[in-house]
Symmetry: C2
Subunit: 338 residues, 2 copies
């Protein structure tokens, strides 16, 4: 089923003139999670990022089978520069589609549109929905779904879902990572850019993204925002109800002084998140349970992280891990037992 | 402050060829709540609705001071008919702006657009936002805000807020009804069409709608959806956080067999609504309280309604009334005590 204009894989990853490694984090995500989607990297003069992939010209990547040039780098000043343009135009002429999650849309650049039309190539702006989503109908769907919910934004919800998906695949379980944001969509080639969906259709877009499936299939749904983040909680709410989750994973970053972008707003406790999210999730799926806790321990030492996780497990009665540090095994064990 | 392209008042209410009185409910709302905005009604041959206002020709309404022809009737089949078109074109030529909440947008009708441009008149499609709303910043605002939250959709949240606003004005209190849906926007001439706002900007649009105000001023914010309605709960969540309410009014219709449009989904209890809504509202405003209960008793006899309200007051420890049947006095008393 098409859930978004499907982006043709594999990709050539465009790193442009990235000022540092962090600017190329979208490309890094693709390389980390779907290495089979990345045949090589394209770097311009002065590029300070390096994914360790083979540097390729457009022609070399084409010969290696790449179908789409993915802009895997954040641009400076929010504009697509003339230097980038030369490469993008050449890529279209070479037969590549283009895919981008930039605010500066490809489709708003008249020269790119003209060349794409002339060459019959496609411009994918994954920041914008390309599907007319339905209103959610709340009908119970077959298959199983897991949603990562956070005490705050940017605490590792996407990473958690990707790591669980990878672990499930490694175990031979049936699973699909369901992307709900720009980076996730570029990693997998499809998904719903939920923050750009019209309010009335948010929950429906998630129903559409996670349709009926085999009874033992798990959708790992990428979370967005937080029920406790006043700027984005409506988006999270639509995931909790549209996603109809069977299992919630609580995500947390213990060292954050306040909610992201909201000085003066303290993070909720994991108990509060558990109680509120579960209560609301059970409206859409009375069988929903909280299955585990994913903690981003990047700012903690090894002993501190271990002690924190052990304490959480005792206090909350749930498996707790940092999937980046210790793998997603405990969380997948918990889902496998449902 | 402009919160929407402000619609010029007063209005001539267009009832078209309404098949029955119910089809003219938008016009009825304007007449009931802002009678000073309605100089007369315009009815076509075969119109079965009558608001009891003076029937006027376009010229008569113009002479009486009307500035905008408001389409106060639901159209058949979702299309603007050729019969309507003749009147709408004549109205533009007569010097009226047009305002509509129809799905069939005025701006999508090439002939109306052409005449509006030629005559310098404005087409207001209140179903679509006309403002670029900000992302919510969660900063505490001055003044007071009350939000109506429901156990379900369409239980009387708009009516409750309008009735409280009217009662406050009658008492000489400072208040403003803040519209968040098509009907409310047409009644007052401005507001936010929340269900059509892009997900990321929902809470921000409500911050924008309810800005800093005098310390003793109340915004009565029109509710939308329900935290327990899986199709629209994200929209409600954005109101709870963007609205930063000081007071919540719980709205309920006790005889409904299931959630609106969702067979198999039972309504939450008022206790559940109170607990979940208050917990979430206190994220944005720790001082928020639940101030009262508004019950739609239209399907109950007089004794039954009285007994039900008395029982609720005892069980919940909150003032409970049906503002349509008994006035909004009790609810305003509760706000006045905050």
């Amino acid at each position: 089923m098409e859930t978004h204009a499907m982006i043709e894989t594999p990709y050539l990853l465009f790193l442009g003139d990235a000022p540092d490694q962090l600017a190329a984090k979208v490309a890094q995500g693709i390389k980390d999670w779907r290495p089979e989607n990345a045949v090589g990297q394209f770097r311009m003069d002065g590029c300070k990022a390096d994914l360790g992939l083979t540097d390729m010209t457009l022609a070399e990547a084409k010969a290696a089978g790449a179908k789409t040039l993915v802009i895997g780098v954040a641009n400076r000043g929010g504009l697509i520069s003339q230097e980038w343009k030369k490469v993008l135009v050449a890529a279209l002429e070479e037969g590549f589609d283009l895919a981008s999650g930039l605010h500066n849309l490809l489709r708003d650049e008249a020269d790119l549109v003209a060349v794409a039309e002339a060459t019959g190539r496609t411009l994918h702006d994954v920041r914008i929905p390309s599907v007319q989503y339905p209103i959610a109908n709340g009908v119970k769907r077959t298959g199983k779904r897991c949603l990562a919910v956070g005490t705050d934004c940017s605490v590792g919800k996407m990473y958690t879902a990707l790591a669980m998906d990878a672990e499930m695949r490694a175990r031979g379980m049936q699973s699909t990572f369901r992307a709900t944001g720009q980076t996730g969509i570029l990693i997998t080639g499809n998904g719903v850019p939920l923050d750009a969906v019209i309010a009335d259709f948010m929950a429906g877009s998630i129903e559409y993204l996670t349709p009926n499936n085999d009874a033992d299939h798990w959708d790992l749904i990428e979370g967005q925002g937080s029920l406790f983040h006043v700027s984005y909680s409506g988006v999270t709410m639509a995931l909790v109800h549209g996603g109809q989750p069977d299992a919630l994973i609580l995500c947390h970053e213990p060292t954050r002084p306040h909610m992201r972008g909201l000085p003066g707003y303290t993070l909720p406790s994991l108990e509060d998140l558990r109680d509120v999210a579960l209560k609301l999730a059970q409206v859409g799926n009375p069988a929903c349970v909280v299955a585990g806790i994913s903690v981003n321990t990047q700012h903690m030492g090894e002993d501190e992280a271990q002690a924190y996780l052990a304490k959480l497990e005792t206090e909350m009665g749930l498996p707790a891990t940092d999937p980046f540090r210790y793998g997603a095994g405990k969380l997948v064990d918990a889902l496998a037992a449902i």
